[in-house]
C-alpha cells in the first residue's frame, strides 16, 4: 500500500457494518477514520471503531444520516479531508456529492454529474439504449394516465420507480384489471422512499437471473472490470445471496456483459466504484437494469475473488491515484458466496423482526469473512436497515464454497430474535441452489413459508427445552413437577377449568 496516506482523516458518513468496513480500509492506509452518529448510536460499534465520532442529530435517519448539512459540518469540525458515504443514505445523492466538493472536501465516490445522470433510472435507460446496450423492453418515458403502453408491451410487466433502487416502488402486474391498484401502490412507495412517485414499465423477464458487473475507475481514464456477481436469490426484489462467478453464464455471455458495462460507464464521466446491473434470460441474453454509482453491499464477494480491497482503491483514486496494471487486469480466483443475515422472519413472509440480539456468535476459520455491525446484548434499532451481518466464503470452486458456507452457517448462532439464518441454512442444502440452477423467482416458488420441522428437529428442540427448564434456577420445584394427577391441586385446577 502507499507509503504516504492519501488523506490524513476521512469522515465515514454511515453506520453499522459498512461504516466499520470503510474504517478498516482507512486504518490500513494510515488514515484516521472519523465516525458520525445519531443519538440512537452513541454506543454503536461503528462509533467505537472510529478515532473520533461526531454527533449529527436525533435517531431519525432523515435528521441525522440523511442530513447533508449536519454531515458536512461534522467533517469540518473534525478536520476530515474527504467523506466516504458507504452505501444507502446519501451515497447516490448528487446534491450531497456536490455539497461535499463545494466545501472543499473530496467525495469518495463517482462524480456528482454521474450520480445525477444515473440516479434517474428512466434517463439511464435512454442513455444505455443510445450507447447500444440492450435494455428490457418497456417505456423510456414516465407512465401516466395513458396506460396503453402496458398492453403493447404485453403482460406480465414490472412497474418501477424512476428514482428507485433496492426493490422499492416495484410491482409485478399480471392482469390489466390490477394495473390501477399496482400503479397507486408503486407510486405511493416510491414517493415515500424517494420523494418522487414517477414510475415506468418494463416487460417481465422470467425466468431471469440478476447479474451485475463491478467497475472501478480512476480519474485518468483507467477502468477495471472486476468480474460479475450473481444476485438472483431475492425476496421482495431485494438480494439475499450473491456469488461470483455467476453459475449461469459462459465466457461468451460474460464478455458481452462486460462490454455492455463498459458502454454504460462510457455514457457518463465515471471514476471510483460502481456496479452495472443486468437481467439475464434463459438464452443468456442480457438487458441493462441500472447502474449503481456507489459501493455495493455485496462488494466483498468481488474482493474475495480478486484479492483487491475495493474500499481502499475507492479512497486512493479519490485522492487522484492511477489504477496500476495489476488492478486493471486483476485475475479472478476461485468462487465466493455472500449471504445476508437480516433481522426478519422467513417463516412469516420475511417480515422484519425487532427486539434484542442476545447471543451473537459468528463463524470463523479458513476462507470465511464476516462484516457485521452487531454484537451480543444489543437492542436492534428499528430506525435503520435490518441487515445484521454479511457472511462471505471463498474456496477453489463452487462446490467447495457451498460446503464452506454450510459449515460457516452451522457455526453461526444468533439469539433473541428470528433472523433469516434458518432460510440460509435450508438454501445450502436445496438441490437447485447447490446445482447453481436458480432464478429471481426461486424463493417464491421453493420456500413459501419454509419447510415443516423434520422429526429429528422436533426431538432436538423438545430435548433442549426440557433440559433447559430442568436446569433453570427459577424452574418448578420437584414436588410440583411430579405432583400426581389425582392430587388436590389437580382436581382443583380441573374443576376451575370446567366451571368457565
Amino acid at each position: 500500500m502507499a507509503s504516504t496516506p492519501p488523506f490524513a482523516r476521512v469522515l465515514v458518513a454511515n453506520r453499522g457494518e459498512i461504516a466499520i468496513r470503510v474504517m478498516r480500509a482507512c486504518r490500513e492506509l494510515g488514515i484516521s477514520p472519523i465516525g458520525v452518529h445519531s443519538d440512537a448510536d452513541v454506543d454503536a460499534l461503528h462509533v467505537r471503531a472510529a478515532d473520533h465520532s461526531e454527533r449529527i442529530g436525533p435517531p431519525s435517519a432523515a435528521e441525522s444520516y440523511l442530513s447533508i448539512d449536519a454531515i458536512i459540518d461534522a467533517a469540518r469540525r473534525s478536520g476530515a479531508e474527504a467523506i466516504h458515504p458507504g452505501y444507502g443514505f446519501l451515497s447516490e445523492n448528487a446534491g450531497f456529492a456536490s455539497a461535499v466538493e463545494a466545501a472543499g472536501l473530496a467525495f469518495i465516490g463517482p462524480p456528482a454529474s454521474a450520480l445525477e445522470a444515473l440516479g434517474n433510472k428512466l434517463a439511464a435507460r435512454r442513455s444505455a439504449a443510445a450507447a447500444g446496450v440492450p435494455i428490457v423492453p418497456g417505456t423510456t418515458v414516465a407512465l401516466e394516465e395513458d396506460t396503453s403502453a402496458v398492453a403493447e408491451i404485453g403482460l406480465p410487466v414490472m412497474l418501477k420507480a424512476a428514482a428507485g433502487g433496492g426493490g422499492r416502488g416495484m410491482r409485478r402486474v399480471d392482469r390489466l384489471e390490477d394495473l390501477a391498484e399496482a400503479m397507486a401502490a408503486a407510486r405511493r412507495e416510491a414517493a415515500a422512499a424517494f420523494g418522487d412517485g414517477t414510475i415506468y414499465v418494463e416487460r417481465l423477464v422470467s425466468p431471469a437471473r440478476h447479474v451485475e458487473v463491478q467497475l472501478l475507475g480512476d480519474r485518468h481514464g483507467g477502468l477495471a472490470v472486476l468480474g460479475e456477481r450473481d444476485c438472483s436469490v431475492q425476496r421482495r426484489h431485494q438480494k439475499l445471496v450473491e456469488e461470483s462467478p455467476s453459475p449461469a453464464i459462459d465466457e461468451e455471455a460474460r464478455e458481452a456483459l462486460f462490454d455492455s458495462a463498459r458502454r454504460v460507464a462510457g455514457t457518463v464521466d465515471f471514476h471510483n466504484a460502481a456496479t452495472v446491473e443486468f437481467l439475464v434470460d434463459e438464452d443468456r441474453n442480457h438487458y441493462f437494469l441500472e447502474m449503481n454509482t456507489r459501493l455495493q453491499v455485496e462488494h466483498g464477494v468481488t474482493e474475495l475473488v480478486t484479492g483487491l480491497d475495493l474500499v481502499a482503491w475507492q479512497i486512493r483514486v479519490a485522492a487522484g491515484e492511477r489504477l496500476p496494471s495489476d488492478v486493471l487486469e486483476a485475475p479472478r480466483h476461485g468462487h465466493a458466496i455472500e449471504v445476508r443475515i437480516y433481522a426478519e422472519d422467513p417463516y412469516d413472509g420475511f417480515r422484519p423482526t425487532t427486539g434484542r440480539v442476545t447471543a451473537w456468535r459468528m463463524p470463523d476459520g479458513p476462507g470465511v469473512r464476516v462484516d457485521a455491525g452487531m454484537e451480543a446484548d444489543t437492542d436492534l434499532r428499528t430506525e435503520y436497515d435490518p441487515l445484521l451481518a454479511k457472511l462471505m466464503v471463498h474456496a477453489d470452486d463452487r462446490a467447495a464454497a457451498v460446503a464452506r458456507l454450510r459449515r460457516a452457517l452451522d457455526e453461526t448462532l444468533i439469539g433473541g430474535l428470528q433472523t433469516d439464518a434458518g432460510f440460509l441454512r435450508w438454501l445450502v442444502d436445496e438441490p437447485s441452489f447447490t446445482a447453481g440452477d436458480y432464478d429471481t423467482g426461486f424463493i417464491g416458488r421453493a420456500w413459501g413459508d419454509g419447510p415443516a420441522l423434520i422429526p429429528e428437529e422436533r426431538t432436538l428442540v423438545a430435548t433442549a427445552a426440557v433440559a433447559a427448564r430442568m436446569a433453570a434456577p427459577t424452574g418448578p420445584t420437584s414436588s410440583e413437577v411430579t405432583r400426581p394427577a389425582g392430587s388436590d391441586w389437580g382436581r382443583l385446577a380441573r374443576r376451575e377449568a370446567l366451571r368457565r
Binding site: 453461526t412 434458518g422 426431538t459 428442540v461 430435548t463 433442549a464 418448578p476 377449568a497
Partner: protein
C-alpha cells in the same frame, strides 16, 4: 422427563436420547450431544415458554407441568367467548394505508392496514373474522410497538 408436556406449535413433541451441554448459559448457547454428534443450539426462556434456535431457526416451545397445562386450558376456555379484540402494532413504523372502515366485516387474514417500517411495507391482517368497530389510526400516523390500531368484534 415425562412429567412435562412439550408442544411445538399445536403438536406434542417428545424429548429424545440427547444430553444438553451449556457453553455460555448467560446467552443460552449450548450443544446437544447424542447419536455420536454435537448439535449447536440456543435455548432461551423461562417457566413454561421457551425458544430453541436450531439450524438457524428460532422455534417457540412450551414446556408445561400438569398444573400449568390445566391453568392454560382454563384460560383458553375463558377467552373463547370474549368480546372485542384489539389489533395492535407489532412493530414501530408509519401507517401508510388503512383499507378498512368502521362497520366493515372482515374475514380472518384480511388486510386491514399497512405500516411502513425498516424501508418495507408490512400488511397488518385480521387475527380473526369480525366487524371493525373502531379505527384508531389514519394514514400518515407514526405508531409505536403495541399501539392500538383498531378493534374487531
Amino acid at each position: 422427563m415425562s412429567e412435562f408436556e412439550v408442544r411445538i406449535g399445536d403438536e406434542i413433541a417428545t424429548p429424545g436420547d440427547w444430553r444438553l451441554e451449556w457453553d455460555d448459559p448467560d446467552h443460552g448457547l449450548a450443544r446437544l450431544l447424542g447419536d455420536g454428534r454435537a448439535v449447536p443450539v440456543i435455548v432461551e426462556g423461562s417457566g413454561s415458554e421457551w425458544f430453541v434456535t436450531l439450524h438457524g431457526r428460532r422455534i417457540p416451545v412450551s414446556v408445561r407441568t400438569w398444573r400449568e397445562r390445566l391453568m392454560a386450558e382454563a384460560e383458553r376456555a375463558a377467552t373463547v367467548h370474549s368480546g372485542p379484540v384489539a389489533v395492535k402494532a407489532t412493530l414501530p413504523g408509519l401507517v401508510v394505508a388503512v383499507v378498512v372502515a368502521v362497520g366493515d366485516e372482515v374475514e380472518e387474514g384480511a388486510p386491514l392496514l399497512t405500516i411502513e417500517a425498516m424501508k418495507m411495507q408490512n400488511e397488518v391482517r385480521a387475527p380473526r373474522a369480525g366487524r371493525v368497530i373502531e379505527v384508531s389510526v389514519a394514514s400518515g400516523v407514526a405508531v409505536a410497538t403495541g399501539a392500538a390500531l383498531l378493534k374487531l368484534e
